[in-house]
């Protein structure tokens, strides 16, 4: 689905990482970890084309990011669900419309009354808050909503950046179960997190590989995780 070929990224000269070879194969489940500021979010941004690699290549669905035009990129993004670290919403739309936004943008219509949407909102525990505006949500509620929005389109790939930073342990387990279930349905999943407990819990449920950025390299984490 998404492939890195000796890809690297640097913000204005300062290389974050380089020579990354990575294949997010269909149906795979990856964790990405590493200390704060090491480049986890940056690597995720390469996966959905918010950034282009400053060295090497990144291929989305078989097409090189360097050669995709803006509309192709938009099309590719509709196949990728992303939970951003700073979960961004449209503050003037109620939560359910925000979660349904990818459907609206894909011009499949606003499916406010679709049962799938309602079910999903219930799963992340936001049924009570469906009509609230994003600024009226608590931190954890926003994070759950972001995850719901990322999966609503049933995308091929789901990228989640620190999806459980603001929720309690029980809720984080619940969100993890959602991701695991989607992975069992064949979705490709990549989760960036610093929460090692979450990774350990996941490994009991799913065959997941744990990647770690250190020394400007992407490494496979040892069995200690």
């Amino acid at each position: 689905m998404i492939e890195f070929k000796s890809a690297g990224y640097s913000y204005g000269g300062k290389a974050l990482f380089g020579g990354v070879d990575l294949d997010l194969a269909s149906g795979s489940f990856h964790f990405l970890t590493g200390p704060s500021g090491v480049g986890k979010s940056t690597l995720l941004k390469l996966c959905y084309g918010e950034l282009r690699p400053t060295e090497g290549n990144v291929t989305l669905f078989g097409k090189d990011l360097h050669h995709m035009d803006r509309d192709e990129l938009a099309a590719a993004r509709r196949r990728i669900g992303v939970v951003h670290q700073d979960c961004q919403f449209l503050d003037h739309l109620p939560l359910d419309e925000n979660i349904g936004l990818p459907l609206a943008v894909a011009e499949r219509g606003v499916l406010k009354d679709e049962s799938n949407l309602k079910e999903l909102i219930a799963w992340v525990g936001l049924s009570q808050r469906a009509n609230a505006l994003p600024p009226e949500l608590s931190g954890g509620e926003r994070q759950r909503a972001a995850l719901a929005r990322a999966v609503i389109m049933s995308p091929d790939v789901i990228l989640a950046d620190e999806p459980t930073g603001n929720v309690d342990w029980e809720m984080s387990q619940r969100l993890l179960r959602l991701l695991v279930e989607l992975n069992r349905m064949g979705k490709t999943i990549l989760v960036a997190t610093h929460d090692l407990q979450l990774i350990r819990a996941a490994k009991t449920q799913v065959q997941a590989r744990v990647l770690r950025i250190s020394d400007r390299q992407l490494q496979l984490a040892g069995a200690d995780l």
């Binding site: 803006r70 993004r77 003037h92 943008v105 894909a106």
Partner: protein
């Protein structure tokens, strides 16, 4: 998408993308108001231009081409010299018509100064010949020379020099009007561009979110373009209508030979101000389109 298709799309309701782009609040009101105020001013400038234009044209026709030849001669020679002068004039190239004023007409000319009862015929006052030039005009120096030999008492008197400044003034007023319209138009375009840019800048976050979840540039731009174009159109329509109403309500003095008592539109001219809202919409369309393209280009 082509420009034309884009423009037509402006007038097709799209509830969904209208909802996705947040209300643009003050910039929206600003656009509406700016378009309205500017259209209002433009209507007045247009009326001023048209009225001065009318005036300049009329004076141009009535006066610029009118010349008088005056025969001052001893009473017994007047008739002969007048006839001679008329002959000369009739054979001069560039003269359309020649007419000796009647006593009654001459009396009318004098009455403001001397009252209606001056016994013109008994007086040794000059005879007047009215000459209408053709568009090409005639050779004044040559004519003067010929008149001197044929009718020594004839004096060629060019009225244009009395009236010219008025024609010039009318022309200048007209160009002042057109210049104002140009300035108003340019200012409106600039203001709408800036307002659109401000709205886009304020909504950069929204645009970013939309891009990130896979909206195409067209989808995002459309909503902004529609909003600003319709707002400029609406505002300009309101402004132009109020302007036209104001002009229609202006008291109209009968004689529009006199400056600006007839500051208004004549018949079909009433349709001219309606072009203003259309122009405003077109300007807003291109301004917002350029602004949106630029703003989107900055996002990956």
């Amino acid at each position: 998408m082509s420009v034309a298709a884009d423009f037509i799309a402006v007038f097709i309701r799209d509830a969904q993308s209208d909802r996705v782009v947040p209300p643009t609040g003050y910039t929206a009101t600003l656009t509406l108001f700016t378009a309205g105020a500017m259209a209002f001013l433009a209507v007045f400038a247009l009326a001023l231009s048209l009225a001065s234009g009318r005036l300049a044209d009329r004076w141009g026709e009535d006066l610029a081409k009118s010349v008088t030849v005056r025969i001052s001669a001893p009473l017994d020679q007047v008739a002969a010299q007048t006839a001679a002068a008329v002959r000369v004039l009739e054979t001069t190239a560039g003269i359309a018509s020649v007419r000796v004023l009647t006593s009654a007409e001459q009396q009318a000319l004098l009455s403001p100064w001397f009252g209606p009862d001056v016994p013109i015929d008994d007086l040794p006052i000059p005879k007047l010949i009215e000459v209408i030039e053709t568009d090409d005009g005639f050779d004044a120096t040559g004519l003067r020379l010929r008149l001197q030999t044929e009718a020594p008492g004839a004096v060629l008197d060019d009225h244009t020099r009395w009236r010219k400044p008025l024609t010039v003034a009318a022309g200048r007023l007209r160009s002042l009007g057109w210049t104002s319209i140009l300035i108003i138009g340019a200012a409106t375009a600039a203001m709408i561009t800036l307002a659109a840019n401000a709205a886009l800048a304020a909504n950069l976050q929204v645009i970013r979110v939309l891009r990130l979840i896979g909206a195409t540039d067209g989808y995002i731009a459309r909503a902004f373009i529609r909003r600003f174009t319709l707002r400029a159109l609406g505002g300009a329509l309101i402004g132009a209508t109020i302007g036209m109403l104001a002009i229609w309500l202006l008291p109209e003095a009968g004689d529009d030979r006199i400056f600006l008592t007839g500051l208004g539109f004549r018949q079909s001219q009433w349709f001219l101000p309606l072009i203003i809202p259309v122009l405003a919409a077109v300007v807003a369309f291109f301004a917002t389109r350029a602004a949106a393209t630029r703003a989107l280009g900055r996002l990956s």
